[in-house]
Symmetry: C2
Subunit: 378 residues, 2 copies
């Protein structure tokens, strides 16, 4: 194997596939990055066996030559060293050559690295996925779907299925749901596929987080292929494979209240900042809650009390308070997480009493719902 | 106590004095910040008993009113909570009022915090220092003196005296020396004081690092008062006290070779980057060294070898190589630390054989010397 490649593109691809490489793997060769040079270009692969990422750099792009292949071939190089080395190379082009016994030479300017490589034939094969049924989603929408749900997955392995996000496709609509059983995030999106195609899978939260990091912000379509055990995201020059979680995702539709007793509409930023301030005194010990009091036609009060430290109270001018008077306590972290992913200058919060879950939404936008369970303090 | 103060100035002062506050103190009141409002303005004090910082905010600056004192007084507030709270207050002004039993109200806009304070009379007094003999150093020079030496102090408590920087004043010259016994940093500066005044003290490295962080980059003079056990740095509106280290600093003058056998002059940036690249393979296990080979009239070669990972070699075009041929090994970290604090496009390295300490300097600048002990590998 021997090729010359543009350094910036090499660095970018290596950083992308590095996101799948774990140093704590039980399969030693997976601490490496697989490099395959073919007549069309060079591909880089990283994997921790849950997630696999393949980044392809074509020989040419438009009129520009990016890679010059002198001899096709393959090698596996230690990910940690290889990624650090390519970042620090002195020149804009890099030559990579495999010699005898997997010894690999990396040359750039006057710097020459010799790295001991491994046989690429020993590297596990990526899942084979047939692609006759792809869903297509624009990259920016896909990133939003992830951002607005994935934070709500469970971090505890008590119920492993809750560490993933449920993707359910029915009647040309995708429904993404994440819950850790204390709060729930739900995001819908219309899909341009036949109504009779349906899926119901659970994608690990970690996979979606890593996928989001390597996707650029653009509107290019990502092809998504879902199988029994794997999902494949195909973006431009990048393949992202993730295993799916085993098991049935709980039915959460009954959790979402259909009516409400108190409705408020407030400025998102003012509300978020008041909760953030109140949370400063809500960090200690058991009393990790913020209280909200709403008196219709009057005002909303956010407060928190930590007997040893002190207390805080802040009034908020609401754009609207309707229904019953309410005193409710909740985790400020859950509220801040939910507020940060909602778009729009105003938000609507719908309560059904102090003991029932409440909903946070953007007025007139039914595609996204955030639900939080209150904390009993009375 | 009751006053109204500009939020940005309050935040700045609190962040400054916070640098002296440790959460791991054995004296509970030192987890707090002392606030004293007088007719002239408000002072804030933080201390971990090694370092004490006092920041003063005057009532007026130029024509601008910064603080309005309604009632003088004092209080101690929990540093962690108080500093977080002031950063997140909603408006540009803040009112702070102490009520009964040290209960303190912090108001800004519609947010109102009640914090349980402590009696300021319980707070330890700052060291009393008489100021008839101050040394004056411009802030930017002081920051350079610190930056160019403090990185070389020892981090081990085996010889506590080496965790400090030796400040020696003799014949109107300040000599700052730091060493961890593997490398040494030395910086000289002329002082505008009578020739017969002399000092020889050791200032903890940590104190100098924290001092450097709170000094702005300007040329205003800092007054430095040195006593038997304490040093006081007086910048505009900030007093910085540090205890001195007990004991005698070792005499290091004999360590510095007066002649050399091999001299090289190289481009600082190229040399630094080549060492940085070579260090990538010098991180593993015992072999944490980079080799330098110099052949007069030819070239310099930087290399490193980690049998299990691989090796790297890079040639550097030297501006000058004089004297004997040389092969020497050293810690890349020490070399990088030294190169990063040297100014100028070129550096001169003076070797006295593979087993002797070598010197790194800027050509024609005798105020700064970096010394490194080589590692024996032959």
């Amino acid at each position: 194997m021997k090729f010359t490649i543009q350094k910036d593109r090499l660095v970018e691809s290596v950083q992308d596939v590095l996101k799948a490489v774990s140093s704590r793997t039980t399969i030693p060769i997976l601490t490496g990055i697989k490099i395959v040079a073919s007549d069309d270009g060079v591909s880089f692969t990283g994997s921790d066996s849950d997630i696999s990422i393949e980044s392809f750099i074509p020989k040419e792009e438009g009129d520009k030559e990016i890679v010059t292949i002198e001899q096709p071939g393959s090698i596996v190089l230690q990910a940690r060293f290889f990624s650090e080395i390519v970042k620090k190379l002195p020149m804009a082009t890099v030559e990579i050559e495999v010699q005898n016994q997997y010894l690999t030479i990396i040359r750039s300017g006057k710097a020459e690295f010799n790295l001991n490589g491994l046989d690429a034939d020993e590297y596990p094969h990526l899942p084979q996925i047939e692609e006759h049924h792809a869903i297509q989603i624009p990259t920016d929408l896909l990133k939003n779907l992830i951002r607005q749900t994935v934070f709500a997955v469970s971090t505890s392995e008590t119920r492993p299925i809750l560490t993933g996000v449920n993707w359910k496709v029915e009647q040309s609509e995708l429904l993404c749901t994440a819950t850790d059983s204390h709060r729930l995030a739900l995001r819908k999106a219309k899909l341009d596929i036949p109504e009779d195609r349906s899926y119901n899978v659970v994608i690990p939260g970690k996979s979606l987080t890593e996928l989001s990091k390597i996707l650029d912000d653009n509107q290019e379509l990502v092809d998504i292929v879902i199988t029994e055990t794997q999902v494949l995201f195909k973006a431009k020059n990048v393949l992202f494979f993730s295993r799916l979680l085993d098991g049935n995702y709980p039915d959460t539709t009954s959790l979402i209240p259909q009516d409400s007793k108190t409705e408020i509409i407030v400025n998102t930023k003012e509300f978020l900042q008041a909760i953030d301030r109140a949370s400063l005194l809500a960090r200690e010990g058991r009393n990790n809650v913020v209280k909200l009091s709403a008196k219709p036609a009057e005002s909303i009060e956010i407060s928190s009390n930590s007997p040893e430290i002190g207390k805080v109270v802040e009034a908020i001018v609401a754009d609207q308070i309707e229904g019953e008077e309410l005193n409710i306590s909740f985790s400020p972290k859950y509220m801040l997480d939910a507020l940060k992913v909602l778009e729009g200058a105003e938000i609507r919060v719908s309560f059904t009493g102090a003991m029932r879950p409440f909903l946070i939404r953007t007025p007139n936008d039914e595609t996204i719902v955030q639900l939080i369970l209150p904390v009993r303090t009375y």
